[in-house]
Symmetry: C2
Subunit: 214 residues, 2 copies
């Protein structure tokens, strides 16, 4: 019947249903945590039924893993399209930090999923097949910038790419992941645009001053 495959008119659409479930599940898991999330609740917010969750994903745990893997894949994609090879080491690092800062702020679900996964001792991520592909995209850029910076005698020698990555991630993740207790205790809103801008440049300064010390 004139194949409506390319149209949005199909009533039955494998991909659409899968994507719908995944999107709803991402919000539910990020919001409530793995144990707190309810399969029935996810199903209810979907345009389909619970039966389909089991049909396409197998169960709550596999659905959670699919959600986690998609979130990490997006981060990897964002990291890979980064091109800072043509910049001077200092500027390259500042830009990389700023882009990481922005990516995290643009993906609050991801931050929460990582926190949740750490609560569960990374047991799901450890068993994931995408695990092997995550380290390199995150470290490749930093490694090359550090090499150029050290070759030019600009950067100190006693820090490796993973240390730098940790400083960047710490700062970007903490201000978002812990913003609720921070807000409760200190009354400071981490999402305030002015403060956001201040922290964004602060992170760059922090890195450069440390790496170029003495």
């Amino acid at each position: 019947m004139a194949a409506p495959s390319s149209e949005a008119e199909r009533q039955r659409d494998k991909e659409r249903t899968r994507a719908d479930i995944l999107a709803v599940a991402t919000r539910e898991f990020a919001d409530k945590g793995y144990t707190g999330a309810r399969v029935d609740e996810i199903a209810a917010r979907t345009s389909t039924t619970k039966r389909m969750i089991y049909y396409y994903f197998g169960g709550k745990e596999q659905l959670y893993l699919a959600v986690l893997e998609r979130a990490y894949s997006e981060l990897r994609a964002s990291e890979q399209q980064l091109d800072v090879e043509h910049l001077e080491p200092e500027d390259a690092l500042r830009q990389l930090a700023a882009l990481t800062f922005d990516h995290h702020e643009a993906h609050p679900d991801f931050i929460r999923l990582v926190s949740i996964e750490n609560i569960h001792h990374a047991e799901h991520l450890s068993r994931s097949e995408i695990l092997a592909g995550l380290a390199d995209p995150a470290l490749g850029g930093i490694t090359r910038i550090l090499e150029r910076g050290r070759a030019a005698g600009l950067f100190r020698e006693d820090v490796d790419a993973l240390d730098v990555h940790m400083v960047i991630s710490s700062f970007c993740v903490f201000r978002l992941a812990n913003r609720h207790t921070f807000q409760a205790i200190f009354g400071r809103d981490m999402l305030d645009p002015a403060r956001r801008e201040h922290h964004r440049t602060m992170l760059g300064d922090l890195l450069i001053e440390y790496l170029t010390a003495r």
Copy 2:
């Protein structure tokens, strides 16, 4: 009967039972999260029964709040007994950072409880009565160090105590809270003694180089 109140021989001991429940609950909540924790499981690991949890605390939620409040109280106590007034600003800040670093590493349950509480948007902590007493102990020391440092022309002016606190907390919390996904992805053990030492001094350098820049 010769009041065995002060002895450990009592069979019925209000304080002992309460403390027992609280200790077991702390481990359970820190390990499984609020929704993941099981009241029956906590009761089973106690030397008393589930009935006593409801007798002394009222319910799962109040028990969790009691656990959270005790964890924060310990941090506050540790912060208050800190005396860095007699040190030069730079050394004072390095020492404060190192002590925070140590305290976090010595209290893994606290780190996890904070992560868990943030997953729940700090809804429990926000309603806590101890909330008002948490900000000052955390910031007082830093504020005084910064004032002395700025007065001596050593430190930059565009950073406040809360920003400094955030940098310290970010670093100390992240390396522990996110160590499972970090380990899974990069294969790096954050608890390795040599690396621990490296990061401990690294944090001090990071702060000082940034604050004394230019």
